[in-house]
């Protein structure tokens, strides 16, 4: 069976799968591998926030990442919805353009510069202070 390419899925389905992955890691509930994202090989990217799209159905972080040979490339990092991130302690002010961030990302398998957010590791050198709503 082909793995499900999460970004090619409709918003509600992607929300469901991203929520599963965010809450429970590899979900036992779906027999599909739910990724155009490579969950086996997460990568850490470090760069500068170009844009923080605090939007539904999904939040996106546009990050400018230095290329090994010089210059910058832009990554599109997909998160879950505003509604879920809010309950996980995020706000629209969590990230601001210009912030230096490190992100753990499940990268796109096709090599495009994008991925699904696994963890916001640091903001301007500090661990993010996110308190989940119970």
């Amino acid at each position: 069976m082909q793995p499900v390419r999460i970004c090619s899925l409709p918003p509600l389905l992607r929300a469901a799968l991203i929520v599963i992955s965010g809450l429970a890691g590899a979900a036992a509930s779906a027999h599909h591998s739910f990724a155009m994202y490579d969950r086996e090989h997460p990568v850490t990217i470090a760069g500068e926030v170009r844009e923080f799209q605090w939007t539904n159905p999904h939040v996106w972080i546009q990050v400018l990442v230095p290329k090994p040979g010089g210059g910058m490339e832009e990554w599109s990092v997909e998160c879950t919805s505003v509604n879920y991130l809010t309950r996980w302690g995020w706000t629209r002010h969590t990230l601001t353009p210009g912030d230096k961030v490190a992100l753990k990302v499940y990268p796109l398998k096709d090599g495009s510069k994008g991925g699904s957010l696994a963890e916001l590791t640091s903001i301007n050198g500090r661990a993010p202070n996110l308190v989940r709503q119970e």
Binding site: C7, L12, H31, Q62, S112
Partner: protein
């Protein structure tokens, strides 16, 4: 030329016409306690979130499908497994419809008022208005279940619902659902003959149970029932949710899309 001021316009609109009878004085509004609580109903109110998987049946069992519906589901599953699901009305942010809303990964709030239960869903800011008849009546205020079934009603994403209480259980029957909604995100189909029966009861202080039966003689060999549980989240608030705000992953008719990666 005289300009019509706001005050003049108000006068024109509110002054009684010559010879017309004075408008009837409206009855005083009911007290808020009367509007927003109904001690006669068992309490299933609160903010609830689905537990378990987002398939209609958590174990992914499905009804025995008939004829064209069996073939349709096979086509959809093939596309789903290949990574480009087809026919999903939510792809371009159209409503998920019923019974999909019973198994979405977003919370909903149940509000009980005399003669009505209202479900306020976070996903897509959907509202279901359920008229609720007296205990044991089997009717809502839209008429008997039989007349509702016979009525020539336009099919809609959420259909027409009527509820009644039996003991601690709210029984909601829903009909007139569009045939192009899906039962869950796997693409499980139903026909326009679908009747959904939801049986809501508060299993304990923090657990809502919903036994859902899908009766669809056109599409299914027999009625199909699952029991889903929802957990109370007393401190959460329902927030706005618009799917159309920034959907970067729209699909085409073949279910294919870009990755959502910004092109620059």
């Amino acid at each position: 030329m005289t300009r019509l001021t706001g005050a003049m316009l108000t006068l024109l609109l509110t002054a009684p016409l010559p010879g017309a009878a004075a408008p009837p004085v409206p009855a005083p509004a009911p007290a808020l306690t009367e509007l927003y609580a109904d001690a006669r109903q068992p309490d299933i109110s609160g903010l609830w979130l689905l537990t378990g998987a987002f398939y209609f049946a958590p174990d992914r069992s499905v009804p025995e499908l008939l004829g064209e519906y069996k073939a349709l589901y096979a086509r959809r599953m093939q596309a789903f497994d290949a990574g480009h699901p087809i026919d999903d009305v939510t792809a371009d942010c159209l409503p998920a419809g019923m019974p999909h809303m019973d198994v979405v990964p977003y919370p909903f709030e149940i509000m009980q008022t005399p003669g009505r239960v209202t479900i306020l869903y976070e996903y897509d800011s959907v509202v279901r208005r359920i008229p609720v008849g007296p205990t044991g009546s089997g009717t809502g205020d839209s008429g008997t279940a039989a007349s509702a079934a016979a009525a020539d009603v336009d099919p809609s994403y959420y259909g027409v619902s009527a509820g009644h209480w039996e003991g601690d259980t709210l029984i909601v029957e829903t009909r007139h659902i569009r045939a192009d909604t899906q039962v869950d995100f796997s693409g499980l189909p139903h026909s326009d003959a679908l009747t959904i029966t939801e049986r809501f009861r508060r299993k304990d202080a923090t657990t809502l149970e919903n036994r859902i039966t899908l009766d669809d003689p056109k599409a299914y060999a027999a009625p199909f029932t699952v029991t889903r549980l929802y957990r109370l989240h007393p401190r959460w608030k329902i927030a706005e949710y618009s799917c159309s705000e920034n959907n970067r992953n729209r699909t085409d008719a073949q279910g294919r899309t870009s990755s959502g990666v910004a092109e620059r």
